[in-house]
């Protein structure tokens, strides 16, 4: 038990520290790297809770894919960090207002939070029964009770993806595209001609 408590404080401590560093780091690339560290440590917390599937998916999706794209974009941005800092102070009131609203909402949610009576039993066994693994338990819930919500979420993501492609895609004229099918369909007879060249006349 003491080891899991130590591990919790280790993960949680690094999580909080790296979250602070995300917003205070001078270099935006460093910010993204600290964000990745934060993701990774929250995955560690999930695993500590016994939710190994969620933890692993956290690493695979957030760290392995989403944050890579973040880093990709931030690295390519050519921005002067000093200019960026200059005007930042004028947004502090708006930021404070948003923060206050979020804090109020969180208080409103957690103020009415009540623990179920068998919370200790639930905490001890995150998945129902010894034989059922975490992944199976999750799959059984998602694809039966919550199938509509799950598919709806998937559909929204799909629409968002199509929308992003439609908005950013532009057809540039004069681009020579490779058509693999056409290339494969080419035969020597279609493009090559053997010609007899008599000396002194040319082709």
């Amino acid at each position: 038990m003491i080891i899991s408590a130590l591990a919790f404080y280790f993960f949680a401590g690094i999580l909080v520290l790296s979250s602070v560093l995300v917003i205070t780091a001078k270099n935006p690339v460093h910010s993204v790297l600290f964000l990745i560290l934060a993701f990774f440590n929250s995955a560690g917390l999930f695993i500590l809770l016994g939710a190994e599937f969620v933890g692993m998916i956290m690493v695979i999706v957030y760290v392995g894919a989403v944050a890579v794209l973040f880093l990709f974009v931030v690295m390519m941005l050519d921005i002067s960090f000093a200019d960026l800092r200059k005007g930042a102070m004028q947004y502090v009131p708006i930021g404070l207002i948003i923060g206050a609203v979020l804090l109020f909402e969180l208080i409103a949610v957690f103020g009415t939070w009540s623990m179920s009576d068998d919370k200790l039993a639930n905490l001890a066994a995150p998945s129902p029964g010894e034989s059922v693994s975490n992944t199976q338990a999750l799959g059984k819930i998602i694809y039966t009770d919550y199938v509509l919500a799950f598919q709806g979420a998937g559909l929204i993501l799909f629409v968002a993806m199509v929308g992003a492609i439609v908005l950013t895609h532009r057809r540039r004229p004069g681009v020579r595209r490779q058509s693999v099918a056409e290339q494969h369909a080419r035969k020597p007879e279609d493009v090559l001609k053997v010609q007899k060249v008599t000396p002194g006349t040319g082709v």
Partner: protein, 337 residues
């Protein structure tokens, strides 16, 4: 007797530590001799001798290379982003080693027998991209940056189809535990069903480990070594070790997913007397040979062709195969319980 059991109980941690040490040293030695084997095999394929001067048959060549890299000076470019520049190779190297914790070498021969073993492997291999992309950015050099960007997009692209292939295998085995995957009952029709996925997986791991013919992040002839161009001495050696360790890891992963790891080939009972670890080694070496074979045989892909293959060929194919596998399993009522 009681005292002895007591000692054993205390020594359990030490046994674990010894196992970790053994696996790490074993992997590093395999990496060393994998480079030797690669040079010998490629030499044979290209009618050359390969390393032959240091030691008998050049067997001490990897050791000599290691000493050379150790004794050289580590150069950190003055314009580089110091901490990130140094952390990148360490991270790549460490990640390529931690993944070995869940690999079962034989029945029960595993350091950490966790439930979500295959997810752990996938998560670790999807994180290795950071070593490359951080190195590319921190070097503050155009070639290195291009290499890092190429690697990031390439590894993310091929991970998608790798994930879907893993889903296919998981549908057939019904467990995420690596030992469970090996020992799951696989009739012949299931193996035939999974065979095309083995081919796609082999191509994908070439792209995932940045190996020829997909070694565009390094691309000596166009970006002079890519993300590694500013690295020297031990920092370079860590990249090198990480890359080869990742190749061996991917071979072991292919072995576990498709080739039956420590089980005798084709389920021949007469061959079961051979220790499982021998079969594991032979099958892994076979996949490792494919890496070298591909490198010696195939010219490098063009970048747009690489992306086309990943997104327009492999992604639809593997997605279709997931649906097909699930459909067949449902139709014939063969889903593992």
């Amino acid at each position: 007797m009681i005292e002895i059991t007591g000692i054993f109980a205390v020594d359990w941690t030490i046994i674990k530590l010894a196992a970790i040490l053994a696996v790490t040293v074993g992997v590093l030695l395999t990496v060393a001799y994998y480079t030797y084997g690669e040079r010998k095999i490629m030499g044979a394929m290209q009618r050359r001798q390969g390393p032959m001067t240091v030691g008998p048959f050049g067997l001490l060549q990897p050791i000599a290379d290691g000493i050379k890299l150790f004794s050289k000076e580590t150069i950190i470019p003055s314009q580089a982003n110091g901490p990130v520049f140094v952390i990148a190779p360490m991270m790549l190297f460490a990640l390529s080693l931690v993944a070995w914790a869940v690999i079962p070498f034989d029945k029960g021969w595993v350091i950490a027998n966790i439930n979500a073993g295959i997810l752990y492997l996938f998560a670790v291999s999807s994180m290795t991209v950071y070593g490359v992309i951080m190195a590319g950015w921190a070097s503050n050099s155009r070639y290195a940056f291009l290499g890092g960007l190429r690697s990031a997009s390439q590894m993310v692209s091929y991970e998608v189809s790798m994930g879907l292939i893993i889903v296919c295998v998981l549908l057939c085995t019904g467990t995420q535990n690596l030992q469970g995957i090996v020992e799951a009952d696989r009739p012949v029709w299931m193996q035939i069903l999974l065979f095309p996925m083995l081919i796609v997986f082999l191509v994908s791991i070439l792209a995932e480990t940045n190996r020829a013919p997909f070694d565009l992040p390094e691309g000596e002839s166009e970006i002079t070594g890519g993300f590694m161009v500013e690295y020297s001495a031990m920092t370079y050696a860590l990249f090198f070790l990480g890359e080869y360790s990742a190749m061996i890891l991917m071979s072991a992963m292919t072995n576990i997913l498709f080739l039956g790891a420590w089980l005798p080939p084709f389920g021949i009972e007469a061959l079961a007397f051979v220790p499982g670890i021998i079969w594991f080694a032979i099958k892994t070496l076979l996949v490792m040979f494919v890496f070298i074979w591909a490198r010696a045989t195939l010219p490098r892909f063009r970048y747009d062709q690489l992306m086309r293959l990943g997104w327009k060929v492999f992604l639809p194919l593997t997605l279709f195969w997931v649906v097909l596998t699930a459909g067949i399993l449902i139709t014939f009522d063969a889903l593992p319980s």
